[in-house]
Symmetry: C2
Subunit: 74 residues, 2 copies
Amino acid sequence: MDAFEKVLGRVIADARRSAGLSQEALAYRCNLHPTYISQLERGLKSPTIRTLRMIAEALGTKPSTLLLRAEAET
Amino acid sequence: MDAFEKVLGRVIADARRSAGLSQEALAYRCNLHPTYISQLERGLKSPTIRTLRMIAEALGTKPSTLLLRAEAET
């Protein structure tokens, strides 16, 4: 994965903390594995749009909002 | 895949045509298989962020722009 995934992972982690959720709680809401959330937040995985949509919904935001934040930092 | 992927596929196809590119030309620019581009445009695949970034770059736009267009239609 490249620099963008690292930034996007950080953006997701920030949004998760702002929502007051642990990695486990976010994983549960999205029906994903906590290990996957951890890998995502460290930029080790590039999520599919489908996965990004589930995460955004669980965090009360939109996929485009998360991407815009990541694009603004890269 | 669900309705969002179908809409995103249409958004990508529209952007590709606006850029004057065939599916083959876009595939070549992104180092992806033409069959994959076809599947993506028909909503049969959910691209990773990494793939969406390559496609957006080849089309002279941003991943967030493509997502915003798809979100506006869903």
